[in-house]
Amino acid sequence: MSQGIDLQGSFVELLTQFGLPAGVAKAMWLPLPMTLILLAATVSIFVTVWLERKISAAAQQRIGPEFAGPLGTLQAAADGIKLLFKEDIVPAKADTILFTLGPALVVIPVFLSLLIIPFGQNLVITDIGVGIFLWIALSSITPIGLLMSGYSSNNKYSLLGGLRAAAQSISYEIPLALAVLAIVLMSNSLSTIDIVEQQSGYGILGWNVWRQPVGFLIFWIAALAECERLPFDLPEAEEELVAGYQTEYTGMKFGLFYVGSYVNLVLSALIFSILYLGGWESPISVDLLSGLFGVSETTPWLQVITAAIGIVMTVVKAYLLVFLAVLLRWTVPRVRIDQLLDLGWKFLLPVALVNLLLTAALKITFPVAFGG
């Protein structure tokens, strides 16, 4: 296994050569990857909104946005700027503090979860030991924000939407966590880096999707429900609840819900690709190719190319999943609330438990194949 590119090490080394103490150099490095990730997340919102509109249009044989910028690429930016200029209305009967805090509480955990997304062996903000568990914990905070905004609006649609959102999130949280648990069982680690490295070496054949086909499906369904994507968009089912918990929101507060939901979609797709599709690994292992051509893995140019391929691979896999999610939106009808909860509690939960025990049993029987 090659060591991969180490940007932080090179950066700190460069600055210490100029006579700066290592601590200062490290502190200067600290905000760089974070700002980069936040910028990338912001760009990903625009890309995802544009993709969603274009794919939806293609699914319905329309053209979609085409006037704002080439191929309508600036449409999402135009939408965002429009929201900035909209007036901010807080209903007279609403609780102003909770009403403002709600959207912020939806957005912050979603952005914070980007902390653990690796784009390469060392291309991650920080590799904390609890990695994927941090994501599980943070994703439980979002429903509090939704419930808060639904309840504080003092509007019946908002209240029902907020309660539905909370009920839906907590119902699918458990199958999701159990599906992740089976992966953790195979990788012996909660760190996202270790989870990807455990899948490396055999190209596409080494990815977890072959060892966890059931967990793969459970995670996909649960992630769609957590993101409130169709067919699980009951909290904002417009035929029943106007816009659910967002009904009373205007301007940028309304925009924050959209930012949260799109970043959450991309984030879920990224985590999905890390857990099941080998993260930054390419379908044909780069190590294998470099070995074939007799190039050393530590050659600097090869490290740069490997890192670049890693980033591209992560993003491509994530966006293939986003594409699938958008297609599903126009393919599957919305489920009813009782069907939704039945699916979560009476189907996914037992199946996820069986999948976990099966993985544990298989790990005892075939320790090599299941990450002994």
Partner: protein, 120 residues
């Protein structure tokens, strides 16, 4: 400085992420028009005069789901350390987890039979 290495990133990133909504709402504060008027601040109810508030007692159904959720979420949290250490613990840990999950499955079956998982 920090006992847990890597977590200083978490703190700094938390501050950065916290600034996202503050920035978004702050910029909008200076750009957006401000108009007053009692009618624009009424609660939306599909064009009707709102009848009563929404801060009322709501159905216990949501409460039941929340209760079952707490049980199973705690179970999952207990299983995480087990999963990480599984390869060192071997078959005994498997049997222990089997017993642990069996007890909780009994709880799930009980909740199911009692109708706690029914919507209507």
């Amino acid at each position: 400085m920090f006992v847990l290495t890597g977590y200083e990133y978490l703190l700094v990133f938390l501050l950065l992420c916290g600034s996202v909504p503050i920035l978004a709402l702050g910029i909008a504060y200076f750009l957006r028009p401000k108009r007053e008027g009692a009618s624009r601040r009424t609660t939306y109810e599909s064009g009707m005069e709102p009848i009563g508030g929404a801060w009322i007692q709501f159905n216990i159904r949501y409460y039941m789901f929340a209760l079952v959720f707490v049980i199973f979420d705690v179970e999952t949290v207990f299983l995480y350390p087990w999963a990480v250490a599984f390869s060192q613990l071997g078959i005994l840990a498997f049997i222990e987890a089997l017993i642990f999950i069996a007890i909780l499955v009994v709880g799930l079956v009980y909740a199911w039979r009692k109708g706690a998982l029914e919507w209507s």
